[in-house]
Symmetry: C3
Subunit: 422 residues, 3 copies
């Protein structure tokens, strides 16, 4: 299962690669692949110790560099490492196309070594204050721990970094991703990976009831994602948000992802109609936040904030409402209270640290690339590897075609101008 | 296993995306992703009840919206849902580039809610007439249930919809897909998914003999696919079908897929040489149907009919011939008779329903997009998301290159004309 | 006494049930892992597709998909028999076309078939963009039917001379058997075939792949597949200690790959190799792959810090061989030699050094000696056969495409399927844009 979740890195990479312009494609790809390597190293050296070492209710304190980790726990290490890499990857999306490479290196080390591990210690380690006996915090597959943490970091990053050049100029056209198929590929892989993400969070399969819980988690993920996708597609189509009213592929995809994020927290304990409602609300919430950020001139090329922060927050509420014995069944509000407390703590911790980190980077001028580099693209200037080198596309078929078409275009223009002259 | 089969949706999406022109890429991608979501909703609400609810020999009658479904069965639900989505996806291929989006929404709901579930009830539910004790129908992984159903629907759809504008004009060039790599990506994912599709159909792993059956299913799938691909590649190369004689990638890929479809029915009970023969015949059959449809001016951009209907039909015959104790071993023809009966019933049911459905859609004028939209492409007009937005590819390297090349091209042309003048 | 009989019976039954579940879960484990490794073919295909020019994309894709089909047929008919049939210490001699293979062994067949296809695929990378299609068909049959199976017989079949009791050869997931074999064949092929037209001309620019995203896709899939490749090599999951070994293999693979990638990225950035000093995506990716190849041999027995060192050295070694081949004017478009031969060789050494009880722990050098012997034997066998094979093909003139075809690209001339047909990209948005830009460009030039 960890192996399949690992594949989600590929999904994020292509979702992001498709959503940037061709001149920054290599840049976003290298960020995503380094997320894996950096997480591998940082989580090995520091992160796992902070997360699952023995310690106090705030953080763990031993097993640095997995020294002293028993062999049985290696599979668990791998599973948790993949989660850490996922949390870090979310951020690179909202900061795409304008973030400096050095700043990227710094923030991804800090996120995977410190920010995320401590959150996961709170909720998933035996010692953590959200996992202790008195607590009723419920977050099965990380709506809060993974997605809210990543989403809030993405929001802070996007705000401090500022929008891309020309993004909110009234006279320039929308900035679009350069390739819908690449984004779609990423989306499909993420849908596939989410099934493993939510199913695998049971983390065991040999106990009585495990198989049922895993199956329930997967079915709920499918249903919530389906309703999320259809909901946001239809809302976008009606145009109530003041935006265009087309059948948008990216809205359907992101709505589905938001639905899947929202069901993370409770996918093992919800009845199926509950995940249906969760998905619908997640789809609506996604499109609301998407529109809102646009209004506030926060530039998030990937909608990472709307998907992960929106979905994550709602997920923590939804589990308290719809789980068997939850509030809509007349249960107590204890889970809801604890989940809200947990969400606030996560937002304060991750948000606070990110404000300090990104703020410092901005003050010393490392956060953002110079405006010339932003216009020319980072692939050639920074990485020396244009994503689609013009020299490797030199084929007769294109030039013949182009020459012919240019000729025709030319003629058309002539006709047009003569029309105008008349 | 179900999770990996789920990934086949991604395979279909990219096989189809690569096979259409760039102006309809977003359109086909959104169809494929919605197949998942629509199947998720329709199969949850209606389909599963018709397929595996308790009922009569024609259809099931309870467990609508999975109410009353025990937790043990959720994994089974997920597995069957993925199959339903697969059957629906096959159809979108043959109707690509000219089918109206509303028509698409309607037919995919009907396919996943009614047409496919009832067929699967017949063959795979305990109550179904093809699964009853008297029946000898054999269809392990759905050559008939999934692929023949999807294939016949694809055929009916393509015929009623008519060919794409300019497809069979004698003076216009072939319509080609816009990207072989995307199609290849889809193909590779499908090969990968088929291993899980056929292996996973055992649906249990803890009984004695299960592991052996799964292993046999997978090895047979590999062998049949390999021979199918090589066979159709070589036949195409010889040019006996009156077509060009190049080493065609798409022929090799589609031949292999046809081989894998054909082995579905008997992959658990065939000797390995049997799957070798099955693959070879499937490859030949694929290329025959491909040529035939071309002659009949039926436009199937994806060869979905040749792969799934051809492979599916032959698979139902092949299992009767080559299984241990089958006809070539001197066994009785009972399985063959039942399988042919089953195939006819499936074709009558799925074909009949599709004729009514697509016929009605055509009569009310919802089936096909207007000719202007077909020429300009649906991505921009319908979805507002061109797959490769020109604005996001504005890079200096391309313009410098293009200007230089255009100049050179221009000069070449001048030289050529002056040559001619001399 | 009746009670006793029933008890014994039920215990016997229980044992039977447990054995049954064990063998089933072992088989299932192999199949799942094999299926994921099968997906590595897709990874190789796209890594290579992204690394060639657009005019040869279909060509490299068809080679990669045929690798699967050809390996399926050749390994079924001949390869498996040579590899795992009963026989002598050099090769197996029965079970041609899997006749006589028991049902239990089918999962094992599948797993080994996938490995064979992997070894063959490595070669198509280093020979990309100029190798004749017929030559490709011939060499991939020979590689999957003869060259690779015999190597795997030596090391992994009970009869093989590297697997016999006296031997201390250690190669868990095939640093030597798979990657060194493929890497040496790739090297021989690239040398005999010669560089691409214009590759080392001083005045022409670098030849680059046409699409970084495609290469990246392949790379991500390979990283994913390697986890299964190394984890799955345990080949069973029901024995005590199996789960631990699988987990250790996967963690070591992650760590070694991470350090390999970061190391070669940083070295390339410093520019010490005399090359440009940018943050290169392909360097990071290939360094990570080299790290993962190098950890194959010992991923089940190394401490985690050992795989950290292995990865760092693999990253350095990768970039050294990459630079060296460039200097020697050997044209390897995919860096297949540097990744697989470099990583594979180092892996065989690393396991002897860093495993629990290895040389750095004061252990004996026996494993190292045997591993070096094994590496030399593999290089002699695979290298020798490839020299004969590629040499003959070159002599009869089948090895390389004519220069005109190389310049125009093989997609249209050989396969009739351009990867991106110009006719299917006819959209108003592009022409309007182009016309406007050309105009502007024109004006700029005038200025």
């Amino acid at each position: 299962m960890g192996t399949i979740i690992f594949f989600m890195q590929c999904g994020f990479a292509f979702l992001e690669a498709g959503a940037v312009r061709s001149k920054n494609t290599t840049n976003i790809l290298i960020k995503n692949i380094l997320d894996v390597f950096i997480a591998g190293i940082a989580y090995w050296l520091v992160g796992y110790a902070l997360a699952f070492g023995e310690g106090n209710s705030f953080c763990g304190e031993n097993m640095w560099a997995t020294v002293g980790l028993s062999e049985d726990k290696l599979a668990f290490w791998f599973f948790q490492f993949v989660f850490a890499a996922t949390a870090a990857t979310i951020v690179s999306g909202s900061m795409a196309e304008r973030c400096n490479f050095h700043a990227y290196l710094i923030y991804s080390v800090i996120l995977t070594a410190i920010v995320y591990p401590i959150v996961s210690h709170w909720a998933w380690s035996g010692d953590g204050w959200l996992a202790s006996e008195g607590s009723a915090y419920q977050d099965f597959a990380g709506s809060g721990v993974v997605h809210l943490t990543g989403g809030i970091a993405a929001l802070v990053g996007a705000v401090i970094l500022g929008p891309r050049h020309g993004r909110f100029d009234s006279d320039s056209p929308d900035i679009r991703g350069h390739s819908v198929p690449l984004a779609a590929l990423g989306g499909f892989i993420l849908l596939f990976g989410f099934l493993a993400f939510n199913g695998g969070s049971q983390a065991s399969i040999s106990q009585p009831g495990d198989a049922g819980a895993v199956a329930r988690a997967i079915v709920n993920t499918v249903i919530s994602g389906s309703f999320g996708g259809i909901t946001s597609l239809i809302i976008y189509r009606t145009g109530v948000c003041g935006v265009s009213n087309t059948w948008s592929f990216l809205m359907a995809l992101n709505g589905a992802l938001a639905g899947m994020v929202a069901i993370c927290a409770g996918c093992n304990v919800m009845p199926i109609w509950g995940s249906c409602v969760t998905g619908i609300v997640a789809g609506m919430l996604f499109i609301t936040i998407h529109t809102l950020l646009d209004k506030l001139k926060v530039d998030d090329p990937l909608d990472a904030v709307a998907v992960h922060m929106g979905g994550g927050l709602w997920g923590l509420v939804a589990v308290a409402l719809f789980q068997d014995g939850g509030i809509v069944f007349g249960g107590s509000g204890k889970v809801l209270a604890w989940n809200i407390a947990g969400a606030l703590a996560i937002m304060a911790w991750a948000g606070g640290l990110c404000i300090i980190m990104f703020g410092t980077l901005r003050l010393v001028g490392w956060l953002r690339v110079p405006i010339e580099m932003e216009i020319q693209g980072m692939d050639i200037l920074k990485h020396g590897e244009p994503a689609y080198p013009a020299g490797s596309w030199e084929e007769k078929q294109y030039y013949n075609k182009l020459a012919a078409n240019y000729q025709q275009q030319h003629n058309d223009n002539d006709t047009n101008s003569s029309d105008r002259n008349n």
